[in-house]
Symmetry: C2
Subunit: 193 residues, 2 copies
């Protein structure tokens, strides 16, 4: 019987590809952006707003005040709460693979999970972005820095943990040295034991 | 052809057992305390002093002054330099498994390594200590805290990196969820590809 597998990942490290591959190997449902859509439907948020907001931790106080009034949560916090509800309802249905969305933290208390952090070298990630998205190496390097910073801050803000600290995961794997397919095979093996 | 495998580990997480098992699986030499002895022979340190000093980063200024005079390195720094020379000379001879001693950092520039961090839950580690060393659970918990603190400080002092930050390793593995033997098999597989 497989556990729920959560995958946190550095941008362009191959975490999503690994997640899809693990789901395929184990015959499990796979969730990432899908969660946004479901959340949006359930909570009435505009999916485009959600996609923009979820990589930030705070929106301006005045903006929140204007939108929400003084005594409500900031929009990003409301969104996090809504996403967490969706993640829990997916977990309720049984084993699955969830990429991103602080799912490791959200599910920690009540579900048996196998938590993975996928990372890589800058070189490996830049090459992937250049190949897949046609950016220049410099643009790719800038994007990596910006995305990692946002994810680190987002994770810290909601979980009070350090993103990528091995202590929070069952397995942390470097795709530059271990390979994407091999990483997926190892995760599938360990999570189904 | 296997790489040089370095293993850093939380106290009582099973890192040494994994190192021995990986060495056996791949037919490679295994080094841990042995390095202390070789270092001691090469540098003229007393092995007992080395064992005590290597888990600390600083000895008192006055003590160093009395032993070494004003313009020499502290003893712990001399020891680290001597150990680093030994680690490099072992690496020169070819693939091997080295547990502890900041070997990942020492070899980073000139050798192709597969760097592993082994960690676990407190519960798993306490149980191992109680079973193997006959301490009470409370004594084991205190020992874990003390040893981890020393290792973290030692690693930070000499490498300026954070001990257990996944970014510094090819693989970080939690023995409570992955098991000691299975961890060894996976490391052996990945490091020999």
């Amino acid at each position: 019987m497989s556990k729920i597998i959560t995958i946190s990942r550095q941008y362009a490290s191959g975490g999503s590809a690994i997640g899809k591959s693990v789901a395929k190997l184990l015959g499990l449902p796979y969730f990432d952006k899908t969660i946004i859509d479901v959340t949006a439907k359930e909570s009435g948020f505009d999916p485009k707003y959600i996609e923009r907001a979820e990589q930030t931790t705070t929106t301006s106080f005045l903006y929140n005040l204007a939108i929400n009034g003084l005594y409500t949560q900031p929009l990003t916090d409301q969104l996090f709460a809504a996403e967490s509800r969706v993640i829990k309802s997916l977990a309720e249905k049984g084993p699955c693979v969830i990429v991103g969305r602080c799912a490791d933290y959200v599910l920690a208390e009540h579900y048996e999970c196998f938590n993975v952090f996928v990372h890589s070298t800058d070189e490996f990630r830049i090459n992937r972005i250049v190949e897949h998205d046609g950016l220049t190496p410099q643009e790719a390097a800038d994007l990596i820095k910006q995305k990692d910073k946002a994810r680190r801050r987002h994770y810290k803000y909601y979980t009070e943990r350090n993103w990528g600290d091995s202590q929070n995961y069952d397995l942390c794997i470097n795709t530059a040295s271990c390979g994407i397919e091999r990483s997926a095979e190892i995760i599938a093996l360990l999570a189904s034991e």
